[in-house]
């Protein structure tokens, strides 16, 4: 058996783990190891390198993990959820396939209990996290425009992605409605710069960016961290964390693809597997002193899962508006209905994300499924009538924490011999009201535009990317899993640094906040363990 040791062991090389490792790499003489169950992804394998990219993206780079065949991919039993989980296992994690939509939470998201009397407040504020948002933005390269009335000032942005004809059509409709809209905050490089080549509008960001313009964590963070000495062990899964009688983790038992076992001993352990994998590992690490799962004396580990149910509306514009040109998920966002307005009949709200339309194959597949096209004499006309004319709007609803929405262990074992995670989720009553209203609002925009063939539905089934809240942070050990620094209440040398810390979900894509949190937690770890290898910060915040 191989035995390794380090100062900080980070588990997971995705959005959170990559940002955290980058920050830790600035502390000289700190020995950091990161273990990732997947592999590096090669950009020349991305579908957009090939003429049949639409076929390829449905297999190896499908956003549906069950459609992919990848070693290291882990399986989730989500049969008890109307919304199926989506994720990508590999270096960079789900940022490899994310759309790059990169808005921040709002200040109000951190104090929902205080402002609205529901859910809970975070133990940290927007103001505390703001410098970490800025630092992460600087590393990632975020395109957008300053001056958005929906946010406190955000500066240092790269030029925004052009709206394109479709975006302008939607923007004009929003202006006529008098509603907020703004060019998307996009983790996409829009100029040739230190980040590499600029975006060339390949379109399907969610099958990997062959250009390397999308700021997935494998592209932006890992090269820097590796250069600074962080050791990344891929294709290896941490099976269990082992604790001693002092309630300290003393080792991580890992297994690689070849079945070889490895033990890594560290002073500090940081789990960065996000809302499903983090509780999964800790639940699988149950022992005599923690029979309900490691760091789970509160009983909240795996609870309060928030998924951000999506609503979707789509319509067809009369003219060709080149709607398939440009980054698919990054065009316009609207936060007209983000904050609580009780006259609407629910708490909190939703963000609208205007989407560019898919390629020709997916356009026609959707058309056939939705009876907007048929085989036979009208086939070609149906295609021409819809391709490059279709406008989609997704509405991300705020999901409130609900105890019964959870990640637990399934009786089923995976190929590594560990019990797979099981997701139990149902859409809450408040969220249902948000979804219902958001569909109405989205349809209003399409009607204003003059779009035809409007379809609408909610929740969207295969949209469970935002897996949040299952190891919430808080001030008390009774009602949270970690403290305000991401340190678990029960196990002093165990930290969590990912979306599972979210107390409430807001209604925006969470990647920006997850990474800002991870960098913040890296600094908290060093502050708490200042004698750790006599580290010193070589790159002050």
């Amino acid at each position: 058996m191989i035995n390794l040791d380090c100062d900080v062991l980070v588990i997971g090389a995705g959005a959170a783990g990559s940002a955290l490792c980058w920050r830790l790499s600035h502390y000289s003489s700190l020995k950091v190891i990161c273990v990732e169950q997947g592999d590096f992804t090669k950009t020349n394998n991305y579908p957009t390198n090939y003429i049949d990219w639409e076929l390829r993206k449905e297999v190896d780079f499908s956003t549906n993990p069950k459609a992919r065949y990848m070693l290291g991919e882990f399986i989730v039993d989500d049969s008890n959820s109307p919304i199926k989980t989506s994720y990508y296992s590999g270096v960079g994690g789900s940022t490899v396939l994310f759309s790059g939509h990169f808005p921040r939470l709002h200040p109000s998201d951190f104090k929902v209990k205080t402002l609205d009397g529901i859910a809970d407040d975070w133990p940290i504020s927007y103001e505390l996290l703001e410098p970490y948002y800025e630092l992460n933005d600087k590393n990632i390269g975020v395109a957008g425009l300053s001056g958005d009335p929906a946010y406190p000032e955000i500066s240092g942005l790269l030029p925004p992605i052009p709206l394109g004809t479709m975006g302008e059509v939607v923007a004009n409709a929003m202006n006529r409605l008098g509603w907020h809209w703004w060019p998307s905050y996009s983790a996409i490089n829009t100029i040739d710069s230190e980040f590499g080549s600029k975006c060339i509008n390949l379109g399907p960001c969610n099958s990997g960016c062959a250009q390397g313009a999308k700021s997935s964590s494998d592209q932006r963070y890992w090269p820097k961290s590796l250069q600074k000495g962080v050791r990344l062990i891929t294709n290896t899964r941490v099976m269990k964390l082992v604790t001693n009688q002092s309630d300290l983790v003393e080792g991580a038992i890992c297994r690689n693809r070849n079945g070889e076992t490895m033990t890594i001993s560290s002073k500090i352990y940081v789990v960065a597997g996000n809302g499903v994998w983090t509780p999964h590992l800790l639940l699988n690490s149950a022992c005599d002193r923690f029979p309900q799962g490691l760091a789970n004396r509160s009983g909240l580990l795996g609870r309060n899962l928030m998924i951000h149910p999506l609503a979707y509306v789509e319509g067809v514009y009369p003219d060709d508006i080149e709607s398939s040109t440009g980054p698919q998920g990054c065009c316009i966002l609207s936060q007209e209905f983000y904050e609580t307005d009780l006259s609407r009949g629910y708490f909190r709200g939703f963000t609208m994300q205007v989407l560019r339309s898919p390629g020709p194959l997916e356009t026609m597949k959707r058309n056939l499924t939705r009876k907007k096209a048929s085989f036979g004499s009208s086939f070609h006309d149906d295609f021409i009538r819809t391709f490059n004319r279709t406008i989609g709007i997704s509405m991300i609803s705020e999901d409130l924490p609900e105890f019964q929405n959870s990640v637990s262990l399934s009786p089923t074992n995976d190929s590594f011999g560990s019990r797979i995670p099981s997701v139990h989720y149902s859409v809450g009553e408040n969220t249902k009201k948000i979804l219902s209203h958001s569909v109405t609002v989205g349809s209003q925009i399409l009607s204003k535009i003059g779009a035809a063939d409007i379809i609408k539905f909610a929740p969207v089934s295969n949209s469970g990317w935002h897996l949040l809240g299952t190891a919430r942070m808080g001030l008390s050990a009774n009602d949270s899993v970690t403290n305000a620094q991401g340190q678990t209440h029960d196990v002093p040398n165990l930290f969590i640094a990912d979306g599972s810390l979210f107390v409430t979900s807001g209604s925006v894509n969470p990647a920006s906040t997850i990474q800002a949190l991870a960098i913040y937690i890296a600094d908290q770890i060093i502050a708490k363990f200042s004698k750790l290898s006599e580290s010193r910060l070589t790159s002050p915040l």
């Binding site: 049949d52 109000s108 052009p162 060019p183 509008n201 390949l202 250009q211 040109t325 295609f383």
Partner: protein, 133 residues
């Protein structure tokens, strides 16, 4: 290729084998073999023999008749064939070009979005803050 199958494909996507050089579409498609296997299933269910006898012998067997017939017999199978067919169709460079869509791989050429005149944002920019603190 089986004549009836060609009839069926040409009905589903008009001019599949003619106007847009269907054989080329066929050869270039990585799913064509799967599609042929599906068609074998159709053959095995008697498309060419017993079942066809149930059709009006005086009426020529057109793609339209076959389509309606298979739909009644096994809609799931027809749906799978349809899916494979459009996968072959919309991943063919000549087909895409015929619709006016660039035939080449989108990387490294990319596409162009014209610059936006951001004065379109003026009315939103002038609004009071929308967020709460």
């Amino acid at each position: 290729m089986n004549h009836n199958f060609v009839e069926l494909l040409n009905f589903m996507i008009p001019s599949f084998s003619e106007g847009l050089n269907g054989s080329h579409v066929w050869k270039s498609c990585r799913k064509s073999r799967t599609l042929e296997v599906k068609f074998q299933t159709l053959v095995e269910m008697g498309l060419n023999k017993e079942i066809l006898r149930e059709l009006n012998p005086n009426e020529p067997i057109t793609g339209s008749i076959l389509y309606d017939f298979i739909q009644k017999q096994d809609n799931q199978l027809l749906s799978e064939v349809g899916n494979l067919l459009i996968e072959c169709w919309f991943t063919n460079s000549e087909v895409l070009e015929s619709y006016g869509i660039a035939s080449r791989e989108i990387f490294p050429h990319g596409k162009r979005l014209r610059p936006t005149d951001w004065t379109i944002l003026e009315s939103v920019f002038l609004r009071d803050k929308l967020y709460r603190e």
